[in-house]
Symmetry: C2
Subunit: 156 residues, 2 copies
DNA sequence: CTACATAGTGAAGTCACTTCACGATATGCC
DNA sequence: GGCATATCGTGAAGTGACTTCACTATGTAG
């Protein structure tokens, strides 16, 4: 008799892989949440800092676009980050409606720490691994990611 | 000159892999959220249904443990699911303090649909892929997951 | 039978998010 | 210049997922 709901062999294997993927996503998310919480941040706030860290000063509208959330939400996140002194809102040089948001010194220090933490995690996960296996993983992830994005574009 | 913050070659490769992993986790999460929303559910509520689907009727306390949330939270999720007729709370046969939660017919139909959707996604992501590549991916995921869990147990 | 642990829930609060309405400014057009 | 219209940020109000704390009802061990 067959296990896993009587599906053909390949389908069962695919299902298992997807399960691993979900599990991985969850554990990874939790881990990141904890790491970020240790520095007094939440995921959403850290995401905003990360965007500024990578792409530099930006308008709130641009941040909203980058993060895929409403401008109103960005306002709220910034209120908290600014109160913590991690971020500053300055007048936009040419558009008086807009605010230019940038990291403070303290915000830059924090995001630098985040980057170091992420790099350390990358090494723990992928370090000391045969190059061939790393390549296979990278290739596999790339393939799956491509298919995933294809689905998103079709019915997302 | 070196790219990616002057890190050694292996570290940079590891970093890229981790980035892919995060990206994959995010896209996968969003996709699942949408799929679940189409059936009138949220992620948390779907997670609860999924637990019941897999492990059968359970006490609220047990559900809280399974989901890794507080019992109070389960109460709230169940209030919503019960209002939607997807779940029933019955008196526990031997413990009069406890509630036995189980799927209704409608709840079972819904979770069945979720399972089919998941299986379909698994096929879209991993179907029509050379067996060797699938095996490599599975192996890679397993390895990374093991390392991730090791970290979780140490400093989580 | 008393002491203590456990199951569920009300009350209150936090955080991420949304929509809608509004004031302030920019911009295109005549 | 002047007016319509789009855009930038924010107040108000609401939802969903969480939490902690306090409390009632019940089980259980000594």
């Amino acid at each position: 008799m067959k296990s896993l709901h009587d599906m053909p062999e390949g389908a069962a294997s695919a299902s298992v892989s997807l399960d691993r993927l979900f599990e991985l996503a969850e554990v990874l998310g939790t881990l990141m949440e904890h790491g970020v919480a240790e520095r007094g941040l939440t995921r959403a706030r850290a995401g905003l800092l990360w965007a500024l860290f990578h792409d530099g000063a930006m308008t709130q509208r641009a941040l909203a676009g980058q993060l895929g959330v409403t401008p109103r939400n960005v306002t709220g996140l910034l209120d908290a980050l600014e109160a913590d002194g991690l971020v500053v809102r300055e007048a936009h040089p040419t558009d008086r409606r807009a605010m230019l948001v940038s990291l403070t010194e303290s915000g830059r220090t924090l995001t630098d720490g985040l980057r170091r933490g992420r790099d350390a995690l990358a090494l723990e996960l992928f370090g000391e691994m045969p190059a061939s296996q790393l390549a296979a993983i990278q290739d596999g992830l790339e393939t799956v990611l491509a298919r995933l994005r294809a689905i998103d574009r079709v019915d997302g």
